[in-house]
Point group: C2
Chain length 514, copies 2
């Protein structure tokens, strides 16, 4: 058995059965091994950012990694932005990065570059296979590191010759390290804060907490019992939300609004969340968002078990389950232009039962998250690392993980163009994805940021932020990749178009002209 086959067989034994791939010559032994063993579903991306973004979406929903198969340092670079996003989401990611054969590396062939160096900034763990014999064991080690708490991006560099060399040995799975134990002192401090001054205590909960309907219910019980505030981080891997689950507000993105929202609190209990920080620094503004003097109580770190910490906290303060008040659905939008409000209303009224939502939008989509609090239950996946271009692949991977659920991709136009190639994979794999493009023809968020630094922009600046010359025709782009679509400019038509798309099988794209 060659090294490549030993890796494929070992990963499959460990439960890995999907491979997102954009292979090249140095991965041909893996392509061959995947083909001969027929143990994994292989999904081709036309660009490496599609591969890692899809692997992220898959893992967020499947709760286990897929394999991303990439080609040399430039291929890793192309994949890097969405690996960055996955890292910030703490999604478990396992990347196999093919490299030149060991003996070939010294000759500066055209594709030679520093694979380990390229991988390092976008990986939590980088290893290089040493021999065909050790290859599978190294893969099991990388997998264990990826899947332990918190989820990590593990990259294993795979020199071509170690894939084709004989001597591969199938390796047994390695159990990931258990989560960090609950910190009893932090628990006591949290109880004290909540009991002494609940109304001025804020709970910020992220990570696995937001993926647990039970943990979310316990949080609401704790807040009902103590009067504490509750916020989620601005960007999250997955939130289980919607009707019957209790709304959780997110820390606002705009720094002025965030500072105001957090100002009342004297204590912050952090559960799988870090102290909130501004996306960017601005002249004369702080980087950290909690008010000065606010005490931080780190109840569970990213490596801890947030849901268990919440259960312990609820127990200590005697919080009892509370009835969840359902947020109202907004009225269906009337015929008329698509504004931020009518966009949100159209979407809230078109979300099907049990959908997966992917959201990549800042300005156009700002109303959507709160407006959908009373929509049917959904899994809500967001851009986590700020590197735009996650949406189309994220939806693709989520649909692979959840073949019985509709995926609704809420997508800004500017960011869609970074990884638009994902639509082709959606068509190829016949995935049930409805993509709604918010076509405001602008990097709208950057215009706001430009004003925020005090500029008075002229034509040349606006030319770097406007997307209206020429207008992008997303319906044509989708058709070019085998995805049907339509353009709508009326909010009521938009709602109906989403409902119709959701009722059919396969991908569909709706360009919502704003």
């Amino acid at each position: 058995m060659n090294g490549a086959e030993s890796v494929v067989r070992s990963l499959h034994q460990a439960g890995i059965d999907v491979c997102f791939a954009n292979p090249g010559t140095s991965e041909m032994q893996f392509v061959d091994a995947l083909d001969r063993t027929n143990l994994m579903r292989c999904v081709l991306g036309l660009f490496e950012g599609v591969v890692t973004g899809a692997a992220d979406g898959y893992a967020r929903m499947a709760g286990k990694p897929a394999v991303s198969l990439l080609h040399l340092a430039p291929g890793f670079a192309n994949a890097g932005a969405n690996l960055h996003n996955a890292r910030k989401a703490r999604t478990p990611m396992l990347t196999l990065l093919g490299d030149h054969a060991v003996r070939h590396r010294v000759y500066d062939a055209p594709l030679t570059a520093d694979c380990a160096g390229a991988a390092a900034p976008f990986s939590d763990y980088v290893d290089t296979a040493r021999s065909a014999e050790s290859f599978a064991a190294q893969a099991m080690q990388a997998l264990a590191i990826a899947t332990g708490k918190p989820g990590r991006a593990a990259t294993l560099i795979a020199p071509a010759d170690l894939g084709w060399d004989e001597g591969g040995i199938v390796a047994a799975p390695i159990a990931p390290a258990p989560p960090a134990a609950l910190d009893a002192d932090a628990l006591s401090a949290a109880v004290a804060a909540l009991e002494r001054d609940g109304a001025r205590t804020l709970i910020i909960a992220g990570g696995a907490v937001l993926e647990s309907v039970e943990a979310i219910a316990s949080l609401h019980a704790i807040c009902a019992r103590t009067g504490a505030g509750l916020l989620a981080p601005t960007s999250n891997r997955r939130i289980e939300r919607g009707r019957g689950r209790g709304a959780i507000e997110k820390i606002p993105y705009p720094i002025a609004i965030a500072l105001e929202r957090l100002a009342p609190y004297s204590h912050a209990i952090l559960i799988e969340a870090q102290p909130p920080v501004a996306f960017f620094a601005y002249p004369g503004r702080p980087s950290l968002l909690l008010p000065e003097g606010c005490a931080e109580i780190r109840l569970a770190g990213f490596d801890g078990d947030g849901p268990a910490a919440i259960a312990a906290l609820a127990d200590r303060i005697g919080a009892k389950p509370v009835a969840i008040a359902n947020a109202p659905l907004p009225e269906e939008p009337r015929a008329g232009a698509i504004t931020h409000d009518s966009l949100a209303a159209a979407i809230a009224n078109a979300i099907p039962e049990n959908a997966v939502i992917t959201e990549e939008s800042i300005t156009a989509g700002r109303q959507i998250y709160p407006t959908c609090a009373g929509a049917p239950p959904t899994s809500w996946l967001a851009l986590t690392g700020g590197a735009i271009g996650i949406g189309p692949p994220l939806a693709t991977g989520a649909a692979i993980a959840c073949p019985d659920r509709r995926v609704l991709a809420l997508q800004a136009d500017g960011s869609a163009m970074y990884t638009i190639q994902a639509l082709w994979t959606q068509a190829r794999e016949k995935l049930d994805v409805t993509t709604v493009i918010f076509a405001n023809r602008s990097y709208e968020i950057l215009k706001q940021e430009l004003y925020a630094v005090g500029a008075n922009p002229g034509r040349s600046a606006l030319d770097m932020l406007d997307l209206d010359r020429p207008e992008l025709d997303f319906v044509a782009l989708a058709r070019g990749m085998g995805v049907p679509g339509r353009r709508v400019a009326c909010a009521r038509d938009l709602m109906r178009a989403i409902r119709e798309a959701n009722a059919e099988r396969g991908p569909f794209l709706i360009e919502a002209v704003m």
Copy 2:
């Protein structure tokens, strides 16, 4: 004056007047400075790989760098593959990479990542601005390093606060280091080899040599005088070729053919070229391509002056200018399917006078380069680093540099999809680019590579190499980005379509179905 403005003014004084940009929040002070000073043409790319690929194409034709303005480590990653290609081309590249404000970096904001680490594998030089006062001087140093011999990729990391801080000082240009002096011993060795056994001596010339019509003529004179062989590397930054310039064959890509082609030689004279190496290692095949025992004479390194070395060599052996025999143009293709041969014939007969050709194709385009030896004079730019996805941006940048020349982009379908967003920039800037997509619906080269590693591929393997499910519709993709186009399936129609597109202003795309 703030730091950003001092950098823009200094670069402009040094002759830099084009900026390819995909900015984000941390570059808003540069957007503002570029806007207020109005000293540079700012060209927006919808994806960072478009930005660096266009900067490469621009610099190859303009002989000086543009500025690439990028956003944080993930933005650099997106730009990395085409920076890799530029590095391998030794194109002078200057990248300004915006980073978080210095004080903001410690807080792990969503977009925080290691900018210097991300830049290192794809840069020859990385520096980080230290203060508003030193910012422009550091930019001048980076520019000098980029533009010295050989061309280098210089990256200057620009923390946001140093851009907005006051105290910027306009800095004077720094002269780049001169090329390395001619090695007299190497010259004598080259003369001896040519005089003793010219027929078994091979000259391999690359880099600036191929950009000099005079140097190419001298090479032909030397070969005529001595019987020496002459080859160019497989991939080159720019070759001035076509009618009246003398054909230069390239080292073949397929390893078996390359080994056979190089077998006869006992001496290799290397001029701005390295000893030829296989693109990839294969089981049982050598990495280096020159025959065993072949003596390497390094007449000029990448840091040397190849044209001067050739002039000295011609002088020493008394080579006199020779009449250049023009290669014949192939017959115009008849109506019929587009095959490798008829594709090449159609293109050779449709190349307009004084065109710039960009070429990114391995299998479908293999016949094109030799077939076009007798076409009108062109500047011929190729994929240099093997990282596919250079073609559409390369053509875009070349067209910005050469507004009075038609650019003909010869483009494989699979690689086109990595940076297809460049078409939008072509439409926006009304660039005279004719793109011909070779639609063979396959990563054809990878199929050949899969067979080369001994595989007998089944459905799952072929699914990772075929692009025919669904078929990509490049005419729809182009229309989606504002570029008109048409599909042709007949070789004669293809020739006519290229001629027609060349006769109009603005971009046009032709999908050639093979």
